[in-house]
């Protein structure tokens, strides 16, 4: 079984660029990833592409070949959809194909155009990740779904809006020097708590923004990296995926994310590492409460203790386990189909030492990526390690 190297990464700036087409966004990320990898585009054997709401935002289905064409890759292309975990599942498929010898060079990534829909339109588009018959029909929005989990978490384990606010403050702080981030702006707890409510107890600053953007990585086999003398020091050494019932009300737990527990367990076993080995993590903080659920599922915090991790300084830039040094979805932005791949980009740079925040983790050798779809009915976890 071949190891899987991340040979190159590419990211557009995340933010509001409503006029930019999905194909233009992905072309930029894909071309940057090929240049970073120093791999010829003719060597790419397939494109695995994540996108969630292309039909609604651009009236565009069948985006796989469209995106391959945009980036100049003449190879079979397939779109993957798992709501906000769309490119996370694409990465996982890429890892499997390289491992089993089906391919030596793959492009994996994703893109989303969202801000052209406006706030109400994007809210409607995001809601289709929930159960249409049983949840959307009752007026449950996406922030509303996470608010239901936050309220249930508070009732079961305690915690406060101020605790959640510390997560937003931390992730904004991390994004200050990340030029790809949508918000490079410092905020404080008071600002978060006093912001307009979206869906109580989650306010505007508990929520990630609506974003446009794309991300791409070039994955290669160990053999290809060696034969071509590539400078590819980071490998994806573990992959895992979990699933759960679609509607929140059908789940055993309202304040936990078992799909991510399963994904983490599988990824850790696959890489033969433990939570204690992780030096840095990028987790799916679409809302502040989502980072709490992620930390607990990943085993980085005990259940019921994730809510205070940012306030206690455990997950801050200078803490023992920095989380979301990119700024996370909260401050870097969340073009949903791009997010899973963008986490791989950020972690690769953090581990290589060429990320704006690499100085916070100079000795880091093991990174963890957690990408969630819907109210975590889909979860994908990847382990990245420095191998050369």
């Amino acid at each position: 079984m071949s190891g899987v190297r991340v040979a190159g990464v590419g990211l557009t700036p995340f933010g509001a660029s409503p006029e930019r087409t999905g194909r233009d966004l992905f072309a930029e990320a894909g071309c940057d990833a090929l240049a970073d990898a120093d791999v010829d585009r003719d060597d790419v054997e397939a494109l695995l592409y994540g996108n969630f709401m292309g039909e609604l935002a651009e009236h565009q289905g069948h985006q796989g070949p469209l995106m391959a064409e945009a980036v100049g890759v003449d190879a079979p292309a397939t779109r993957f959809e798992a709501a906000c975990a769309s490119s996370g599942v694409a990465v996982r498929e890429g890892v499997k194909r390289v491992r089993n010898g089906e391919a030596d060079v793959l492009m994996v990534g994703g893109a989303e155009r969202m801000t052209n829909l406006g706030t109400a339109g994007a809210t409607e588009a995001l809601a289709i990740a929930a159960d249409d018959l049983w949840e959307v029909s009752a007026g449950m929005t996406f922030p509303g779904a996470y608010a239901l989990m936050a309220q249930a978490y508070f009732a079961e384990y305690g915690g406060s809006r101020e605790d959640l606010a510390e997560i937003a403050v931390k992730n904004h702080d991390n994004a200050l020097i990340n030029d790809k981030a949508q918000y490079q702006r410092e905020i404080d707890v008071e600002t978060v708590v006093d912001a307009p409510m979206v869906s109580e107890p989650l306010g505007l600053y508990d929520s990630c923004p609506i974003s446009d953007g794309a991300a791409a990585v070039v994955l290669v086999s160990d053999e290809f990296a060696a034969e071509h003398g590539l400078d590819a020091s980071v490998s994806i050494t573990g992959t895992g995926q979990g699933g759960d019932l679609m509607a929140l009300h059908d789940r055993e737990y309202l304040a936990r994310s078992p799909a991510a527990d399963e994904a983490a367990e599988e990824a850790y076993a696959d890489a033969d590492v433990r939570p204690g080995d992780v030096d840095v993590a990028e987790v799916h903080d679409c809302f502040t409460i989502a980072e709490v659920l992620a930390l607990e599922s990943l085993g980085l915090c005990e259940v019921g203790e994730g809510v205070s991790a940012a306030a206690d300084g455990v997950t801050t830039k200078d803490g023992e386990m920095p989380v979301n040094l990119s700024g996370g979805l909260k401050a870097k932005g969340h073009p949903v189909g791009a997010t899973g791949a963008s986490q791989i980009c950020e972690l690769t740079m953090l581990l290589r030492g060429d990320h704006p925040n690499s100085d916070a983790v100079p000795e880091a050798e093991c990174g963890l990526a957690h990408n969630a779809g819907g109210t975590v009915a889909s979860a994908v976890v990847h382990v990245l390690e420095v191998v050369a």
């Binding site: 339109g121 049983w134 929005t141 936050a150 309220q151 509607a247 059908d250």
Partner: protein
């Protein structure tokens, strides 16, 4: 093939909504006493194919809720509204609270289930009323 302007129902779901509106709500129970909501052929909790309709308990309890201020276009004129998950015996249902001010909704509230219409579109939706 149906005409585009013809109302097409969601079989299983729409009958359930009608039954709830008539005060004859039900849920699906499998041979292992797991509750779920239609339409289903398989119990989502254990995979049993042996599932049957049983009456929904009249009283439920609010387990979690959120007051939504930013809505999708179908609910903009309904804001602010409280979306709740309520437990009725072996099954939970998602719906909106009625007849209680949104600031007075709380976990533990005893409710009954009904069907009402949204202010924005007039579409049916599941609601809970205090009991």
């Amino acid at each position: 093939m149906s005409d585009a302007d013809e109302e097409v129902v969601d079989a299983g779901y729409d009958e359930w909504v009608t039954a709830v509106a008539d005060g004859e709500g039900y849920y699906l129970e499998c041979e292992n006493d797991h509750g779920s909501l239609p339409p289903r052929r398989v119990c989502p909790h254990c995979g049993s194919l042996d599932i049957a309709e049983v009456p929904l308990p009249e009283a439920g309890e609010i387990q979690t809720f959120t007051v939504t201020h930013v809505a999708t276009p179908n609910f903009t004129e309904d804001t602010p509204y409280a979306v709740c998950i309520a437990r009725f015996g072996d099954v939970r249902v998602t719906g909106q609270m009625r007849d209680v001010a949104v600031e007075d909704v709380e976990v533990g509230l005893t409710v009954e289930i009904d069907v009402a219409q949204t202010e924005t579109t007039g579409d049916d939706l599941v609601v809970f009323r205090p009991r």
